[in-house]
């Protein structure tokens, strides 16, 4: 897939944005210089992009994150370098935005500049196995809330439906109708289906635009 200069990943809380963002950034860095992953998550106190700091460094991806992420400073802090995402147009950026509309408010500060430059994608990451987005209707509700908060329109859908360690080929296959319906009702293209790499191998030829992912390590 052809990445725009800025790729924004938004979605319902817990839809898998952080893991997807890390994988995308590492993937893009294979044939791009100056790749940045920006963690604008002001919602989640645990399990952040910094958990993958070593992998990112190794891949040559620069991590822009609040110095308070994963610390005890319990405030919705944004990284001071977030303005470089819009000021320095030589960068290719993956932006991990916090969940729901509350997380998307963080984008409001730079959304004007993003709209003006107009070289961005904003993807709605969906997981039909999350309890508050089990169907297309509830997913669209959250989608509209996020668009309003971010003051940017979405440009595509990424199906990241999974049941964590219990994900198998059937888990993903039985989410495709849901993802297509979200795509049809929103009028936005389904740009990819992201799947853990072992499961992805079982799905080759069965699903278009597969994006195999390496899962972030968990502490326990």
């Amino acid at each position: 897939m052809n990445y725009k200069r800025i790729t924004l990943l938004c979605g319902h809380y817990g839809s898998g944005k952080t893991n997807l963002a890390v994988n995308m950034a590492i993937n893009i860095a294979k044939d791009h210089e100056k790749v940045v992953i920006a963690d604008l998550d002001i919602v989640n106190p645990y399990f952040r992009t910094v958990d993958s700091a070593d992998d990112l460094r190794e891949a040559g991806v620069k991590l822009v994150v609040s110095s308070y992420a994963n610390s005890n400073v319990d405030i919705p802090a944004l990284p001071q370098e977030m303005y470089s995402l819009v000021d320095d147009r030589s960068l290719t950026c993956i932006v991990d935005v916090g969940g729901d509309d509350r997380g998307a408010y963080a984008l409001g500060r730079i959304s004007g500049a993003i709209r003006e430059e107009n070289d961005y994608d904003m993807f709605l990451v969906v997981n039909r196995y999350r309890p508050l987005t089990p169907d297309a209707q509830s997913t669209l509700e959250i989608m509209h809330e996020i668009e309003t908060a971010a003051s940017l329109p979405f440009t595509g859908i990424i199906n990241n439906s999974n049941l964590a360690a219990e994900t198998d080929a059937e888990t993903v296959l039985s989410s495709m109708a849901y993802a297509s319906l979200v795509s049809r009702l929103s009028g936005l293209p389904l740009v990819m289906t992201s799947v853990e790499e072992k499961v992805a191998r079982l799905l080759e030829g069965k699903i278009d635009d597969l994006f195999p992912m390496h899962l972030q390590k968990r502490p326990v």
């Binding site: 809380y13 817990g14 989640n44 106190p45 645990y46 399990f47 005890n72 319990d74 997981n127 196995y129 999350r130 309890p131 508050l132 089990p134 999974n162 049941l163 964590a164 360690a165 219990e166 968990r218 502490p219 326990v220």
Partner: protein, 354 residues
């Protein structure tokens, strides 16, 4: 919801409470349990329930008192510093024999401490926290599935014994995501003839109160309550036993620490060390019988905790200090690694440095 869903531990608690028939939730935000309140805020209005963000933890626990007195299932949740604030109300609930469910998604302390996971409220949960002679039933989940299961069990036990059930979780289990099934058999809440629901001029009025004007009446009430506690100790203690049959080194750990400890036990077994695990699921009542049984083969117990050593006292009491009990710990929001626990087991087995 027959199909599995992917949930955070905190969300699983909230959904389980709703499934258990809880339609009243009062709380005040605090990391790392805020998802419970956020989930309730979204769901309760859609099912005719009440979500209220109170002005403080103290207000929230007293709202719990009110709803419970009216005979309805009710829950509040917080994290360590907030539970300290709720402790007065919890004591009042105990003094009035009111059922409730209180969730503590623990973080590092004391004081404001930090937002990372901890188990250092074990004493507070099992020894009181509030004032007076009382206990709570304390349930310690070790997975997101158990967050749901034990929340439902918490409501049942609370109603059956007219007590507070505390779900003693920690930040990691609250924040981590795992698949959950909500395929539960739900027992209806029992009749509550004591509830203050209006007399309809057909009965004497009910009084819910924790104030006793005559000391020997208050003493009798305490005696009666402790007979109930003794029965609960007999009937409700629960633990998971893992590779205990021939275990010489017995690791004791609950919640998130038990997940780490299980990996370490497996590693030790692979090396031929006879290690096993007791995972208390009820912390009060403490599963003493399981520990006594393990004494048959145990040469040493190791208590693994995210605290400076609190449950270790109950392990010593349960085993009568018949064999050494040592501690393997991290504190202040840190989690022991499987290697750390594994090394403690090797040391106990006399293999340190080999």
């Amino acid at each position: 919801m027959a199909e599995k869903v992917l949930m955070k531990g905190n969300e699983a608690i909230a959904e389980a409470a709703i499934i258990a028939g809880c339609r009243h939730y009062f709380g005040y935000p605090i990391t790392p349990q805020t998802e419970i309140a956020a989930y309730m805020a979204k769901r309760m209005p859609k099912i005719g329930g009440t979500f209220l963000q109170a002005e403080s933890e103290i207000a929230a626990i007293n709202m719990v008192y009110g709803v419970s007195a009216a005979g309805k299932r009710v829950m509040t949740s917080s994290s360590s510093p907030g539970i300290s604030l709720k402790s007065e109300g919890i004591s009042y609930l105990a003094g009035a024999d009111l059922p409730s469910v209180v969730v503590n998604c623990q973080r590092g302390g004391p004081g404001l401490g930090g937002i990372q996971p901890s188990q250092s409220d074990y004493f507070q949960a099992t020894r009181g926290g509030g004032h007076g002679d009382y206990h709570m039933i304390v349930l310690a989940p070790a997975s997101v599935q158990e967050m749901a299961q034990l929340t439902i069990r918490g409501f049942e036990l609370a109603d059956e014994y007219r007590m507070t059930s505390m779900i003693l979780a920690d930040g990691t289990i609250g924040q981590m995501m795992e698949p959950v099934s909500f395929d539960f058999e739900i027992k209806e809440a029992p009749e509550k003839p004591w509830a203050t629901t209006g007399t309809q001029m057909k009965r004497e009025h009910n009084v819910v109160n924790s104030l006793y004007l005559v000391p020997d009446v208050l003493e009798a009430k305490n005696f009666e309550r402790y007979e109930k506690y003794a029965m609960i100790c007999e009937k409700e203690a629960l633990a998971e036993e893992y590779m205990l049959e021939d275990a010489e080194i017995v690791v004791a750990a609950f919640g998130i620490a038990a997940r780490v400890a299980k990996n370490a036990v497996n590693a030790a077994r692979a090396e031929g060390i006879k290690a096993g695990l007791i995972r208390p699921i009820t912390l009060w009542p403490f599963p003493e019988k399981t520990f006594k049984k393990a004494l048959g083969t145990a040469k040493q117990f190791i208590s693994v905790e995210l605290s400076m050593g609190q449950m270790i006292e109950d392990v010593r009491l349960a085993t009568g200090c018949a064999v050494p009990v040592t501690l393997c710990k991290r504190a202040g929001g840190m989690i022991p690694s499987p290697e750390q626990v594994y090394n403690s087991i090797r040391e106990a087995a006399g293999k340190a440095g080999e």
